[in-house]
Symmetry: C2
Subunit: 102 residues, 2 copies
DNA sequence: ATCAAAGTTCGACGGATCTCGTACCATGGG
DNA sequence: CCCATGGTACGAGATCCGTCGAACTTTGAT
């Protein structure tokens, strides 16, 4: 079986990494979509105009920064926003970013 | 006479640029210092462990992103946080970032 | 058992970024 | 006027980052 997908603990999340993860247009778009899908979703269904390998790279960046949690379901990976962790660490940050006009 | 230092209008500020500007350790440090000095300060007085030209680069990045406002005073440049603009555009973002444990 | 679908891994390429040193400019004090 | 101070401009080097294609893995369906 595959080793479980690694995620930083809440205490390990660094603000620079979160900001860097959110600073990319593609990743910000992903975060916006996840914010609108509380139940999580397979990012592959999004029409992002990038290849699968690039998508893997972006989701990994978000996961390693502590922005999203990823869990396997069948052949897919379901991503969810780590809202509770981010709100606890940086109250207002996520809402502020999501409030930005598109 | 020198042309006035250019700054983006509030409407021109892009969230990706703000996040990118904040994602660098040196710049985040500068922003923290400016947050603690409402009246503004000359960033050259900070002991950041970088050269003057690198500091110019970072302050320009912050200014062009719309994070700080820079105005000349004598031979110095006084930087201030654009709190009102950022709070209006992304309510909570700045406070969330500043709330991060150091 | 075979196959298709969804993701991952790896290496590569090009462009952005951070850093510096050197040379330069502007302001204000003597 | 001279010059010290604070900052800028420019170019260069090293590294990082976003992107891709090709090959591979894993899971579930037939």
């Amino acid at each position: 079986m595959a080793s479980p997908i690694p995620h930083p603990e809440r205490e390990e999340i660094r603000v620079e990494a979160v900001l860097h993860a959110l600073a990319d247009p593609v990743r910000l778009r992903i975060v916006r979509e996840l914010a609108a899908h509380e139940e999580g979703l397979s990012c592959g269904v999004l029409d992002l105009g990038i290849t699968a390998s690039t998508l893997t790279h972006h989701v990994r960046t978000l996961r390693e920064a502590g922005v999203v949690r990823v869990r396997p379901r069948g052949t897919s990976r379901i991503s969810t926003l780590r809202r509770a962790d981010l709100d606890a660490l940086y109250p207002g940050l996520l809402d502020g970013v999501l409030a930005a006009r598109r």
